[in-house]
């Protein structure tokens, strides 16, 4: 395949990536007259027979199976609305919130979750008209009682989690914190050194497209925590 850019090179919208017409356009690119161009500012990745661009940034669009963090914005008779920091809001129906029988006339839904509550939820399904249905019936889902939430780009989430969770694990261990990274870019942090953990997450986000990041973050964390301070 004619690779007009280097692997992982930073490209801009409209950059020509390849002019061979048997290459498959994957995500982040588009094809026109046998040529493939980037749609985003991002890093280009060439596969055996495809090319794609990993965007630097962009808002979260809900996708089935994603475990995300959100805030309850409304409580109605049989469901909750959850803000996912996305153009599309999520709906959690009572049937997806509890295994137990709930008498809607007797019980108050706010006993479960109230407006302003932060929750970890899973995206159960997304319809064509972008109706997003959520569920709590997954081990990873829960209400978040304390701690803080910061925002990163959803596109940097894989890097912050790391291969098999190694990056976030490193941050957890060194800062003695519990960090949950939502696929929508909301990150919950709670523990002994939350400010350092938050800074570490932001640092990974900023430098996600560079090499040797895991070691650099480990070094940085050690430096920050040396004085035993925050």
């Amino acid at each position: 395949m004619s690779r007009l850019k280097d692997e992982n090179e930073i490209v801009a919208p409209g950059d020509l990536l390849t002019d061979e017409d048997d290459v498959r356009p994957s995500s982040g690119v588009y094809a026109e007259k046998g040529k493939i161009y980037s749609k985003f500012i991002g890093t280009v990745k060439y596969g055996d027979d495809y090319v794609r661009v990993q965007p630097m940034d962009g808002r979260y669009i809900p996708s089935e199976g994603d475990v995300v963090i959100g805030e309850v914005t409304r409580v109605s008779y049989s469901r909750w609305n959850v803000d996912l920091d996305s153009p599309y809001e999520g709906t959690l129906n009572i049937s997806e919130a509890s295994d137990q029988y709930v008498d809607l006339d007797e019980d108050d839904l706010t006993d479960f979750y109230d407006v302003g509550d932060a929750v970890v939820v899973k995206v159960e399904s997304v319809s064509e008209s972008m109706d997003v249905d959520l569920t709590m019936l997954d081990d990873r889902c829960r209400k978040l009682e304390e701690g803080r939430i910061i925002n990163i780009s959803p596109h940097k989430v894989p890097r912050v989690i790391g291969r098999q969770g190694t990056m976030v694990q490193q941050i957890n261990e060194k800062t003695n914190c519990h960090v949950i990274v939502g696929q929508n870019g909301l990150v919950w942090i709670n523990g002994e050194n939350p400010s350092v953990a938050a800074e570490a997450v932001k640092k990974v986000e900023r430098e996600a497209h560079t090499d040797g990041l895991t070691d650099r973050i480990a070094e940085w964390l050690d430096e920050q925590l040396e004085g035993g301070d925050q």
Binding site: E71, G116, D117, E146, G147, R148, I149, S195, V196, Q230
Partner: protein
């Protein structure tokens, strides 16, 4: 988010903030005077952390009010540009912009920083009007201090253009004289979060605040203006403590402005 507000209120009781600062500590401040090259008669861009405010001074000539024939006018205006925050976007009347302008204006007007009679060209006929326009470009909290700093820097480095009597207009390229300041009030805001005093709040921290007290101090350490905002009350002790701390903070600002204006 509510979880963050609660966390901020809990942590501040232990003297901790989300970004690791001390409760009384300011973020990094940068001041650039003369940010506007040609069109404004004085300007400054101030950044406190990620908060960015641009102030421009425009001078015009008008007839004075009949009851004050030798006084010029100062008009302070603040615009919260929609780009500054996701919340400003949804447009309607900028209540907070009006409030911000009022607070900043008072710091200049009550202190009589500019002698309005100094702006007189011809008694009863023509006086200068000084427009102080603040444009908030990025809101990460503490707009009052950032805007006040920018306004004072812009005034200090600003000038009055020459008035051409023949044409009755201003010659904008000719400087008549620098804007003279009778006093140089510097402003800082002390806020209360869950019973603790905090300076230089971020946007998130302001969602968790209970009260604020804005104090303006002149170059002799005198308090020349003070105003309280938000619903909750301040105790007399808290007010006294705020004033002392503000004196300290504003001295640092004074130095920063001097450097910027050189």
């Amino acid at each position: 988010m509510k979880i963050n507000e609660e966390d901020i209120r809990n942590k501040i009781k232990k003297g901790e903030r989300h970004d690791g600062r001390d409760p009384l500590e300011y973020r990094e401040i940068s001041i650039e005077a003369d940010y506007i090259n040609e069109t404004a008669n004085g300007s400054a861009m101030v950044e406190i952390g990620n908060t960015k405010v641009l102030v421009g001074i425009s001078i015009d000539v008008e007839s004075p009010y009949p009851d004050r024939p030798e006084s010029g006018t100062i008009v302070t205006n603040a615009e919260l540009a929609p780009m500054a925050s996701r919340e400003f976007e949804s447009g309607p009347p900028q209540e907070d912009g009006v409030e911000l302008a009022r607070v900043v204006d008072r710091g200049i007007r009550e202190a009589e920083a500019i002698d309005l009679n100094d702006l007189c060209i011809e008694a009863g006929e023509k006086v200068y009007t000084v427009f102080i326009d603040a444009h908030v470009l990025n809101d990460d909290g503490n707009l009052i201090d950032a805007t006040s700093l920018a306004a004072m820097t812009a005034l200090k480095s600003g000038y009055l253009p020459e008035y051409d009597e023949e044409t009755g207009t201003l010659d904008r390229d000719e400087k008549w004289k620098d804007i003279e300041l009778s006093t140089e009030p510097i402003t800082a805001t002390a806020r209360m979060i869950n019973g603790e005093m905090v300076f230089d709040t971020t946007h998130e921290e302001e969602d968790a605040q209970d009260a604020r007290l804005t104090v303006s101090i002149d170059e002799n350490g005198q308090v020349v203006a003070m105003q309280k905002g938000e619903e909750n009350p301040y105790s007399t002790d808290e007010i006294a403590e705020s004033m002392d701390l503000v004196k300290e903070k504003t001295q640092k600002f004074r130095n920063l402005i001097e450097e910027a204006v050189e």
